[in-house]
Assembly symmetry: C2
Homo-oligomer: 233 residues x 2
């Protein structure tokens, strides 16, 4: 997970090298710089709630955000995470619909809020930007479809193994080999779509098989090929 040095203007923000922003002109970046609002939030802060109207979208500068839907019985289902250089909330801005997910800070994060009309203006006037944003959306859509298939067909054990591999791939590990994302058992269960107790039992099963090292929320993957085998990937 890369850290991007914060700065007064977008033109020197290193996120600028991201495929989405690479094609923006100095002028367009200036426009964003002048209209964005940058704020830092603590763990647990809600950025926007399911059902609310969005006035813009957010670009994650640092930290981690979890994006989830709330099921009818109140249980949350995490649909993805956002890390530095990821965008959140743009879906609702583009479709001009109320937010269909809630965004909550998982690890202290700095977010830049960019107003709706700037996004729409960019899509309409900058073809390269439009294609890049489409690519992003399509990538998310492909991942969502893949997850539907997984969750419908795989067992909880297979899914947990897959999620662990995925988290390792998306967030990496520190120098001790510990996953760079810290989740409660309940949050893990809200990704996998199962009961908290099942996650606990399976985690210790993986530990006993020598695939993991556990220390509270610190998870170290010892046998990646083994987990991949379990996950069928």
């Amino acid at each position: 997970m890369t850290e991007y040095p914060l700065d007064s203007g977008c033109s020197s923000c290193t996120i600028r090298t991201h495929p989405l922003f690479r094609h923006l002109s100095e002028e367009e970046l200036q426009d964003i710089s002048l209209n964005k609002i940058t704020e830092t939030h603590k763990r647990g802060s809600i950025i926007y709630r399911e059902g609310s109207r969005m006035k813009g979208f957010y670009c994650v500068h640092s930290g981690i955000v979890k994006i989830y839907k709330t099921g009818f019985d109140g249980k949350e289902q995490i649909v993805r995470f956002a890390k530095p250089a990821d965008l959140i909330g743009y879906r609702s801005v583009v479709s001009n619909e109320p937010a269909c997910t809630t965004a909550e800070i998982l690890q202290e994060a700095t977010l830049c809020h960019i107003p709706t009309d700037i996004l729409l203006h960019l899509v309409k006037t900058n073809g390269e930007f439009a294609v890049a944003l489409m690519k992003l959306t399509c990538k998310e859509l492909g991942e969502a479809n893949a997850y539907i298939t997984d969750i419908a067909q795989k067992t909880v054990k297979e899914r947990l193994a897959e999620i662990l591999i995925h988290l390792d791939w998306e967030f990496g590990t520190d120098d001790l080999g510990i996953l760079n994302i810290s989740l409660t058992r309940e949050e893990l269960s809200n990704i996998v779509g199962t009961a908290t107790e099942s996650i606990i039992r399976l985690l210790s099963e993986f530990k006993n098989e020598g695939a993991l090292e556990l220390n509270g929320r610190k998870i170290k993957i010892l046998d990646k090929p083994g987990l991949k085998y379990i996950a069928n990937i």
Copy 2:
């Protein structure tokens, strides 16, 4: 489900009134007309297969197409259907990745194939079109996320009830009240993400409760509120 009269040129195709094509100029429609290939396919025909490279996308003129992913054990998971005026395959075109789903004809269909560069050119040069296509993608993404939550949290019974309501909403019924989409029990199970036998048992349970009338693949919903109640919607 509307039928759109086929015609030599796109400018007189009634799909043109679709939000996506509404903003195209006469010239742009002409460009599509000259480069599209229109073909009719029978039930069971594969339009494209998961993993294949796409040379363009398809616009459904008539008929129904099912879009599915194949799980590692070969079981298919239907992720959506496409009906007249829907686009298929554009995701892979935009992301320039191999297709991540398979498209198979469910009810005899006529499709127009439109080459990749035309789509990309439109996105880059026609801002209104870009926004409309983004909206479409975002809508699909929202639906996918909702389905992830459903499939992770609801029981098979709840999901089946929900799917029946959804099919009624998407495809409507004929004058006898029978669903305008005909699916095998196995296909139903491949939407819901369960075993064929479970679908059969639940369908007859719904029938016994007076919520459905069944006659082979012909399904007539008798108690829509009841099904909605079961589905928690």
